[in-house]
Assembly symmetry: C2
Amino acid sequence: MLENWRKPQRPDEAEVEERLKIAREKLSGQQMKIKEHGLPVLVLFEGWGTAGKGSVLGKVIRNIDPRFFKVATMDVPTEEEKRKPFLYRYFVKIPEKGKFMFLDSGWMDEITQDCLSGNLTEKDYKKKIESVKRFERQLTDNGYLVMKFFFQISQKEQKKRIDALKEDKNTDWRVSGKDDWQNRHYEKCLKVFDRYLNDTNAPADPWYLIDAKNRKWAELQVLEILVSAIDTALKNSAMAVPLLQNVFPLEKIPKLSEIALDKTLTNEEYRKELHELQKKLGELHNKLYRKKVPVIIAYEGWDAAGKGGNIKRITGALDPRGFEVHPIASPEPHEKARHYLWRFWNRLPKTGHIAIFDRTWYGRVMVERLEGFCSENEWQRAYNEINEFEKELSDWGAVIVKFWVQIDKDTQLARFTDRQNTPEKQWKITDEDWRNREKWDLYEDAVNEMLKKTNTTYAPWHVLESNDKKYARIKALKIVIKAIEQELE
Amino acid sequence: MLENWRKPQRPDEAEVEERLKIAREKLSGQQMKIKEHGLPVLVLFEGWGTAGKGSVLGKVIRNIDPRFFKVATMDVPTEEEKRKPFLYRYFVKIPEKGKFMFLDSGWMDEITQDCLSGNLTEKDYKKKIESVKRFERQLTDNGYLVMKFFFQISQKEQKKRIDALKEDKNTDWRVSGKDDWQNRHYEKCLKVFDRYLNDTNAPADPWYLIDAKNRKWAELQVLEILVSAIDTALKNSAMAVPLLQNVFPLEKIPKLSEIALDKTLTNEEYRKELHELQKKLGELHNKLYRKKVPVIIAYEGWDAAGKGGNIKRITGALDPRGFEVHPIASPEPHEKARHYLWRFWNRLPKTGHIAIFDRTWYGRVMVERLEGFCSENEWQRAYNEINEFEKELSDWGAVIVKFWVQIDKDTQLARFTDRQNTPEKQWKITDEDWRNREKWDLYEDAVNEMLKKTNTTYAPWHVLESNDKKYARIKALKIVIKAIEQELE
């Protein structure tokens, strides 16, 4: 893109001023429409060092009420961020519906920087490009307006700016070693930038190249492109997007109805195994902590299937400094206002930690599907979005274990009735549980579809036969242990 | 995509049969919805020789009423097709709204074939990929459902099939030299295919890889993906899409109000120049015919500006076997039912020919814009779509000359009045002309925007000052001559 880029014609100063005035007013007027329409706008400023990204950004936001935007200046990842998946620090920053998020450099800068410093193999580069494309596609598919600006200046212009900044003692701190290096290796950088721009130039969120030689003119280009794109996005209501073909390795998994639920353990067997397995898991927890392997354990299952008790037997074995349990209820308003995976990205463990989710992102294809909390197209494409999400986690190095805690309908009734009749258990049973129970068959179909479509080799499902809770707990421990052992080997 | 592709799990035969039945019925049921919704569906079957594209295609169409679909088997381009732009033979085949078009191989096959036979340089490959991406993006942007299937079989499977076909005298004709060659150079082909699939895998029209080892299973995959995509597409109404930044070289052009219209020629000057210039143009026409250079001359201008008379002075110089004039009125129903550029693709000249358009594709950003025949997003993105269209023509080697025939408002009034009062000219003036005249200022703004946004270096606009028609005619001839001379040099 950069290589055969033609600069747009720069109008004369009077015209720039006039059009700036119009564009600023337009952007200002769009705020409330964005709010009403619930449009989330993510604006990415990328480009050469000293190209003036920050200065233009500063001018753009003057037209927006501070309640409606945030700005993040992304530096090199912190040590904490380095212990999360590559996209984490960007995903957690996506805006709420109706608001702007401006990023002063983002994932492009990180990736191209890694390329230039030789820290990224060709294979890893391609993997990251895949990740970026999925990330951006998920955002636009889910109604985000993603605007990507690249600020372009020539080698000569950059040199001039660097020299000018250096000459003045008040500004010389603004020239980073990176800027200097870029300027000395301009052609090399240009190639890397150009390749990245080409690799990530998607129709739904294309790159916009900004001729950044003149500040006002750069501001005008950004503003005019931005207001035009906002206008376009405001015209759309939620739209259905193509369902992508599965590209992830899936393994066969039996339907729920094919699962025998008669497996049991005696109390003695249970106690003996529990003790041994918990000891083993405790040891492994130390090892993976030292090896910095992140572990994600996801629990789904019928109401009263025994998830809580099962989780307790896992956590009972773990060092409390190295794990978190995340009970997942319906999303809070600020969570609902973002991509549905956002609240899970926000709860990812650090490397070496274990995160246990009591209910998960699979709510999208179960309760949200069946209760109509999302559109058909949304839950249908969620299988792929979730596989992509888990692939990201797996590529990061995470061990992923997903449990479906299975009981039959009679067992559920018995447990519900027991809860109802036992005062200290009554809090555990609600009208909603009874209502859900009425939809058992619909849920079963949805669960079967979910298991089938998301049983990837890198994040497999395991069904825990939990008519006998003891059996299910021991099985869960064994599976978690095996998964960690395989990773540590 | 192919390289790390995981085959979908093939269900057992009973399940395949059952799901086939469901999918066939669904597709059958979707026909009328597609019709009502006005959805155009373009389905591309690509893949290895002997992979069974044709056989699956034959089964898919059994579920559709013949009134609603067409099938085209694309072979190597004919000599006639070779004298048109690369995408011509595909663009003219795009379906009408509410109908299917199935292509048994298409532009992928053509490009990868050229790569494999060494007929395509790396540079030309990239150019063609750009063209394909623009073509497909224009289709999806304009509401087309574009489905791309790639039929995958292993080298071993292909060998088995080729051998089986060859053994039987009744089928050995079905093995082409290409199939044999592919099989012997399987790895090489795989690489080229894979690269192409990656390069053209867009979110709005992704590739779907079909495991084609088993015919029924292949049919099922195609059917299920197709009906799901149709379901998704039917949910959408016309949607606004991002306005892409201009990437084409533009040149400054004055606003209409800045054009001096006092230029005139005496009758003598006119006759002398006309004679000389027409002679010159006639000679050039011969040369470009022999050199096979295509020429496209586009006329736009105010009503009564003198387009017709101007065109006559051009064609008067030309050999009638080597040019066509296309008067463009409002689109016919079958034209309106397709991408608005379709009727112009259909009217492209062969190499060595001259096509003159009396009104053009610029109707999109003038009359269609001002009369509300298209949405704002549609005309706004048309500038880029048109620049892309003309770039395609220019890359093909065409000389493109675009005229805006300019007069002032008083001159128009005088000519209208003259037409009204002269019986033999009355047919030339309609109520619509008077209505358009009332919108002069709106049109002038639209024309200025059009000139500014589409005045590319490869397809520049020329304003013909036509208050004095003679002056305008001589100027037009000079410009056409200069443009052809530059190309022939």
